[in-house]
């Protein structure tokens, strides 16, 4: 296999990696907010269910969760697993896993807000929804950005776990080529790609943090 074919295959894999990354964030960031509401709910049943969910997501390997989500339709519902479900399974597993982590980050941020901000908003007549979205959430986002950045960078690397259900993201592709060609080169190149990807992510997150640095 020549260099350009290898790079082409890896780049195709990279596109899948990017798709997993983007879709996971797209679903898990808002889902995490919902989960954090459940976690802070005054309803004890909701709160307990969400607590159990979060502890399972954080207490078991993501790789295991991927396999469970992938095979569940077959073993639980006796459905035939279609080829296209592989990718969907990855997004589902990643989204619910990362939502749990984001939920705990959101909760920490929300609970760190001084009560006085809620009270000031209430006395001014803001509704609860206005108070949350206009006053609380923007400040929470600023507070939690460093922790979110950590998770996002971990996610870039975690996308490689999709190899366990043979989704053709970059790591899966690199491993296949490496085996066929008996060479570590494809893995090295994949490593460089991951590194550059994360570098770009870090720069983007820095930009976002800078955007929020207009106040203290």
């Amino acid at each position: 296999m020549n260099w350009s074919t290898m790079l082409l295959l890896l780049s195709e894999g990279l596109l899948t990696t990017i798709a997993v990354f983007v879709l996971t964030l797209l679903f898990s960031l808002p889902l995490g907010l919902l989960v954090s509401f459940g976690r802070m709910s005054k309803n004890k049943i909701v709160q307990t269910l969400v607590k159990v969910y979060i502890s399972i997501m954080r207490g078991t390997p993501l790789m295991l969760q991927l396999i469970v989500v992938y095979f569940a339709p077959f073993y639980v519902f006796h459905l035939k697993i279609s080829a296209s479900y592989r990718f969907v399974a990855v997004i589902i597993a990643f989204a619910i896993n990362y939502a749990a982590y984001f939920a705990e980050i959101y909760r920490g941020g929300i609970e760190s807000m001084p009560q006085g901000q809620y009270e000031a908003a209430k006395v001014l007549g803001f509704t609860r929804a206005q108070t949350f979205f206009k006053i609380i959430l923007p400040q929470v986002i600023k507070r939690i950005l460093p922790s979110v950045t950590n998770e996002v960078i971990t996610l870039v690397k975690d996308t490689s776990l999709a190899f366990v259900i043979a989704v053709a993201e970059m790591f899966t592709v690199a491993k296949q080529i490496a085996a066929a060609e008996t060479s570590v080169m494809p893995l090295m190149i994949a490593g460089v790609y991951y590194y550059i990807f994360n570098l770009l992510v870090a720069i983007a997150m820095e930009k976002i943090e800078a955007h929020y640095s207009y106040y203290k």
């Binding site: 001084p114 009270e119 001014l124 007549g125 106040y215 203290k216």
Partner: protein, 255 residues
């Protein structure tokens, strides 16, 4: 005598079986400045929080402009507040200035002031901004409209928070120790603003430890102790009281 804006009748408030307010009766009339003084823990903040609906009372009635916010139920055992929607209507009646300002740090000074008029009162943005700028220049902050709270001194922040409250045209403005978080020089500038508001006949209820200021600016003074109103009267009446506790308290705080 001028119209009664706020009436509190037989207010009682408990926190986990600790009685913090006991049978408080209070009347605030239009144009009047009422100061609340008293030792720490006597329930002054709790009373303001009940009046501004941040805290629910365990007994008693709160009446703004003749309309009940809360009254005792038929059996006379529990207070009943009006519905959530109706409660919102009462937010026009009062404003509250906090000891530690509680400005919104992510908004500019101007936006701190205009946000509620625009989104709560649905005032057109341009009109809200014009009004905010008027308030800022009245409070000596005309050049700070675009600053963020962290760029201001404590005294400036407190004046912005007064402007924020005034922007909604409250009938009564409540202050909970507006100068306790400030250095003496900054205290002066905030007291000056409150004095100016008094001169414009703004109705105000002020919890303060500034005795000479309370004496000078108030029409009436309430002395609270152990969750009860121990004395009520004109500044001269309170400051020349022969009650031992009041003399002692005032003596300790005056220099």
């Amino acid at each position: 005598m001028s119209e009664i804006l706020l009436e509190c009748k037989h207010i009682k408030k408990e926190f986990d079986n600790l009685t913090v307010l006991e049978d408080i009766n209070l009347e605030v009339r239009r144009g009047e400045v009422l100061s609340i003084i008293g030792p720490s823990g006597s329930g002054k903040s709790t009373l303001l929080r009940c009046c501004t609906l941040l805290e629910k009372v365990d007994r008693g009635e709160i009446i703004y402009l003749g309309r009940h916010v809360c009254r005792m139920n038929e059996s006379g055992e529990k207070p009943e507040y009006v519905s959530k929607d109706q409660l919102r209507g009462f937010h026009d009646c009062f404003g509250l200035v906090f000891q530690n300002f509680q400005l919104f740090p992510h908004y500019s000074v101007l936006r701190n002031i205009t946000e509620a008029p625009i989104h709560v009162k649905h005032m057109p943005r341009a009109q809200a901004q014009e009004k905010a700028r008027e308030l800022l220049s009245m409070l000596g902050l005309a050049d700070k409209a675009d600053a963020y709270p962290y760029q201001l001194s404590g005294g400036q922040q407190q004046r912005v928070s007064i402007a924020r409250a005034l922007a909604l045209n409250p009938q009564i403005l409540f202050f909970d120790e507006p100068t306790s978080a400030l250095d003496p020089e900054l205290t002066v500038e905030v007291l000056k603003v409150i004095r100016a508001l008094a001169a414009q006949h703004m109705t105000m209820v002020i919890v303060t430890h500034e005795m000479s200021f309370a004496r000078e600016v108030s029409d009436k003074i309430v002395f609270m102790e152990n969750g009860q109103v121990q004395a009520f009267g004109s500044p001269d009446e309170i400051f020349s009281s022969d009650q031992e506790r009041i003399r002692e308290f005032i003596g300790k705080l005056s220099d």
